[in-house]
Amino acid sequence: MRKALGLFAFLGFTLFLLGAAMSLRPFGAPPHAEMDHYFITHAQEQASANNVVTSIVFDYRGFDTLGEATVLFTAVAGVLMALRRREVSS
């Protein structure tokens, strides 16, 4: 019973997602791209880098990348902590 209900909800959700995909703007033709246009035209002069993606990653949206590096740092600390030896001195 519970599984059937779950399957029903799941099918509904799938249809919902498909509906979202259908109603999205056509693929390959982004309607608004002022921000990206700015990056493409100004990256070489402002960040002095040929690679526009890198100039976004480290300059225009560099703060996100700090967060991203922090996520990795957090995960490494978490993994090392979760798998540390048991040495509880009580």
Binding site: F10, A20, A29, P30, V79
Partner: protein
């Protein structure tokens, strides 16, 4: 018209199907490793979605080093690529931690079946 939109928006439909697959795996699989794989499928679907958003028909990679002449003024959107890069790294971090927990759970209970390890119910 309807057939048209399916053909044009095919990448987005693939994303929707992948998302559904990921949710199915998380919701209906009993093995913890499979649940982790489900989260990874979701991750891949969202990354694919972001990259697909940035595509411009006939566009070139947004890199000026030794690019072909036609590339100037005809590049795909760079922001989704940067976002995807961030989200991939985050996905790696999440899956590493999930697997570490899975190892701990296996060490403790000797099983990865979620129905058997749920002692915290109530």
């Amino acid at each position: 018209m309807n057939g048209d939109i399916i053909a044009i928006n095919f990448p987005f439909i693939v994303v929707a199907l992948l998302l559904a697959l990921g949710f199915y795996t998380i919701g209906f699989k009993r093995n913890l490793i499979k649940v982790v794989i489900g989260v990874e499928i979701l991750e891949g679907a969202v990354n694919l979605f972001l990259i697909a958003l940035g595509y411009v028909k006939g566009g070139y990679a947004p890199i000026y080093t030794l690019a072909p002449k036609k590339a100037v003024g005809n590049m795909v959107l760079p922001t989704p690529q940067a976002l995807t890069l961030t989200s991939i790294v985050i996905g790696v971090a999440v899956s590493a931690l999930m697997l570490a927990f899975a190892v701990n759970i296996y060490r403790h209970y000797g099983t990865l079946d979620v129905t058997k390890i749920r002692r915290l119910r109530g």
